[in-house]
Every structure is written in C-alpha cells, then in structure tokens.
Amino acid sequence: MSENIHIQKLTKTYSGSNTPALDQLTLKVESGEVYGFLGSNGAGKTTTIRLLLNFIQPTAGTATILDKDIVKDSVAVRRHIGYLSGEIALWPNVTGDELFAYLGKLQQKDNRAYLAELIERFTAEPKKRIGELSKGNRQKIGIIQALMHQPEVLILDEPTSGLDPLMQEVFYQTIREASARGAAVFVSSHNLAEAQRMCTRVGIIKHGRLIREQIIRDDLNLGAPMFRIVCKDESSIQRLRTKPSSLKIISAEGNSVVAQPLHSIAAALKELSNYDIVSLTTEQLNLEDEFLEYYGDGA
C-alpha cells in the first residue's frame, strides 16, 4: 500500500510560546487506512490538521500528502483533499446547493452524481439557507462538502459532532466506502467508541507528542477475533513472531503475543497446536483503557 500521508518530525511552536504545540510528530497513513488521531483538548490534534492543510506553517519537520510537500506544493495537495473542520463554519445566508456549487467550482472537480447520492444518503436539506438549519443538519452539509469530490485523502476533525446515531452509521458506511476506494482517512476524535468502530489504526497524542499507535483491526480480517497467546519459552515466541502462516501478529511483549487469524480460526488453532502454549485467550481491544492508560493520571 502507498503512503498517502507521511509526516516526519513535524513541529509547530506558536509565536509567543516556548512550548511546541506539536513536537516532532512522525506518522504515516496508507492508502485505504482510516487513522484515528486521539487526544485531549490542546494535545495537538487540530494543530496537526491545520499544518497538513497549510493553514499554519511548520516550525520544523516535513510532511507529504500523495508525495507532495504540504508547504511547497500546497495547492496541488489540496486538489486531492477533503476537509471538515472541528466546528464547521459555513456562510449562513446561502443554501447548501449554492455552497456545493461554489466549492465545487473552486475544487475544479465536479461529481454531481456522487453529490446527489450523498445528499440523499444523509437526508440533507440543500434548498434551505444554512442559517436556518439545526447543528446536525449543518454538520451534514459540512460532511458532504468534504466528500463530494471523492478525494484521495480525507482530513476530518470531529466529523460526527451533532449527528444522530442513524446518521453516524451512514457516515461510518460512507467512510468505509471511501477507504475501500483507496482513500486515506485521517480523523481526529474525542469519541473513543467511534474511533474503535471506524478506524483501522489509532494514534494517541499528548502534549504535542505521539505517545502510542495501536492497530485496531486489519482490513484483511474485519471483525476477526484477536488472541492473546502466552508461550512457555522464548523460542516458541520467536518462531511464532517470525513464521506465522495463518496468523497476523498485532503486538508482542515478553513471552506473549496478540495475533489475529488471517484466514480462519480453525487454521489458526491447528497451527498453534505446534507450539508450546501456556494459555490462549480471546482479546478484546478496549481503546478506552488504552487511552486512560496515558491520560488517566491527569497529567
């Protein structure tokens, strides 16, 4: 898979501040991946997004989107981006239709059939003035403007804020389709359940530093269970880590590994019978626990 977003040691220190809002962030988001960017308020999520969009200039480091530099080639980069800001701001005295027409012209990429499909899918009200819409309906307009040109990279800041559960489901489905089409999705969220449900991988950011990345699920095995396998000795672990034929190793620590069946559970269990296994339990990833591990101390 190709890297649609590649961030290397990206740093931003705002003028008048000695502390970097973003400190040497390095991460990659591949084509087809849905990357959740988690962190508390002020952790650096929005700063990262604003840097990627070239709204603000990096103090140090680089980032490329589709192999184009976000600063030098920002105009070319933005041809391929769909963006939704955290608190969607739209002109209140225009209708959704007028907004889509205007932004479509500026984007130089008009896909009316897909726009009509999105409007229908989200049951948006494009004939009404935006100022007359409820928060949820304004959010739908914001989501549609970000998706309507079927971009290769989606950068979304708190995208489901204000959406009811039904519309959230529609949104997840639309993001899954974009991901299946090959789009890289970079989504910042406070909603851990949502991230766990929507993302293939998450990164936790704290005080401007990426402190943890976690695979949530592999695209090859959507919905497959994960096993925590504890082996008796190191050699079994080494063999399991280097030559698993029917298992994908998610993480490894000491004499235990977390793995996911690649094809079927039966095939995985058959292969595991060749190892000296002490225990085998199913593992349920709990993103909330992961998050609290880093944020729970209140630091």
Binding site: S74, V75, A76, A89, W91, E98, K105, L106, Q107, Q108
Partner: protein
C-alpha cells in the same frame, strides 16, 4: 477568480443595494437643496462668514470664505468634501477589514483555503470582490449625480463632475484598502486595522480642515491624506497631484504588504 467575485456579490447583494440606496438618498437631498440655497446665497454666505473660522473650515476644507451660490463651491462644501467621503469611507473600511478579517474570525476562510487555490489568488479575488462591490455603489452614485445635478441647476461639466466623484470614491476607498491590506498581512487585528483606518481618515479630516487656522497643525497636516484631498480643485479641472501620489502609494505598498504577509502567515 471570477467565482470568488460572483460569490461575494451574490452573497452581499442586499447589503450592496442598501448602501447604494443610502448613498443616492443622501446625494439627492443635497443636490435638491441647491436651488433654495442659491436663492438665499447672500444670507447664507453671511451666516457662514460669521461662523467661527474653525467650524467653517470643517465644511470648506480650510477655505477662508465660501460662496454657496456657486455650484462648484456648493458641491465641494456640501457633497464631495465631507458627505460622500463620510458614507463611502465607512463602507470601504467596514468591507475592507471584513472581507478577509471576518471570514478568518468566523473560520469560513478555511473552507476556501482547503481548496486548490493559492493564497495569492484568493487575496486577489477578495480584493477584486471588494473593489467590485464598492464600485457598484459609487458608479451608480456617479450616474445619479450626472443625471440629477443639471435638473437642480448645477451646471458643471460632466467630465468635472465625473472626475470629482471618481476621485472622491478612490480617496475613500484608499482607507478601506489600507484596512484590507493590514488585515491580510496580519500586521494588525481586524479591530486595530479598522481603528487605524478610521483615525487616518476622520482624524486626518479634522487636522487637515483646521490646519489653516492653527499654526501648529500645519506641519502634521501634511502627513494626513485629507490634506491632499481638495474636490474644489478637481471641479475646477486641476490635477490633484498630491492626491494621486498618496493613492498610488497606498495601493502599491498596501498590495505588496498584503501579498507578502498573507502568502505565508498562519491563519487564525
């Protein structure tokens, strides 16, 4: 570019309409007063002559005496020196500081900057939209003045009337453009850019108008734009060189400042 201009004009159509109506009404009232004022010119001139010179200066741009029965002097004192600039400066500064500044504060600017359009082109688009919006108000007023002035016995050549209106419009626009450029470059916040433009225009008006009466204001008045704005000279077909230099400086240096500043600065 044309999409940005069309979008701004469409979104602002009712505001443009009301500014145009306000501008026309004010102009109409002043032009329609001329026959009555001309008929009583001697009395009114006496009243004006008896006014404290400082007050008279505010109406005449510092001239020692005035004959309100003369169409050119009437238009200078009643329309071009203060009334039209006052309304147009307010329009220009409000829009100049707001066309980018308000969008940045409301975060709607991000919707535009997320599209494949360079900051330079966006800046130019906004500047042209601002110019187009302002031109509609002032050009309709110009056509109105040319049409209505002869009806009320104001017989001044159309070219002189047109030039006086155009210079007045450009002079007023210069303050709004300054606010636009300072805001774009982020040299000042929207509020500070507005305050500076207002101080330079209306503060400058007071300094320039009173400078002929107070010695210590003579030198500072040379540094305010109003010092170079004399509509009577334009109505009498004189070329306002000082005004042209001032306006050229504002438009050239302001554009440079805005372009260099806006291209790479952080959007708030």
């Amino acid at each position: 570019m044309k999409d940005i201009i069309a979008w701004e004009l469409k979104r602002r159509r009712s505001t443009i309409l009301w500014w145009t109506i306000g501008s026309l009404l004010l102009t109409f009232v002043i032009l329609a007063l001329f026959p009555s004022i001309r008929d009583k010119a001697n009395q009114l001139n006496q009243v004006l002559d008896q006014m404290p010179s400082s007050l008279r200066g505010l109406k005449t741009g510092g001239a020692a005496s005035i004959n309100v029965g003369d169409p050119a002097q009437f238009l200078n004192s009643q329309l071009f020196y203060i009334t039209l600039p006052m309304i147009w400066i307010i329009l220009a500064i409000t829009r100049g500081a707001g066309i980018l500044g308000k969008e940045e504060r409301d975060h709607t600017l991000e919707l535009l900057l997320a599209r494949p359009i360079s900051r330079g082109r966006l800046l130019l688009g906004k500047a042209l939209a601002f110019g187009a919006e302002y031109s509609i108000v002032t050009l309709v007023s110009l056509a109105f003045i040319l049409f209505v002035a002869p009806i009320y016995d104001i017989h001044i050549s159309s070219s002189s009337l047109a030039l006086a209106t155009i210079y007045t419009a450009l002079f007023s626009l210069s303050f709004g453009y300054l606010a636009f450029c300072l805001q774009a470059a982020n040299t000042l916040t929207k509020r500070a850019a507005t305050a500076l433009a207002v101080a330079l225009s209306f503060g400058g008006y007071i300094i320039a108008s009173l400078s002929s009466l107070t010695d210590w204001l003579k030198t500072p008045s040379k540094f305010v734009p109003y010092h170079y704005f004399n509509p009577l000279d334009i109505l009498q077909s004189k070329t306002p060189r000082g005004l042209l230099i001032y306006m050229a400086a504002i438009f050239v240096f302001g554009s440079l400042l805005a372009y260099v500043g806006f291209r790479r600065r952080d959007i708030e």
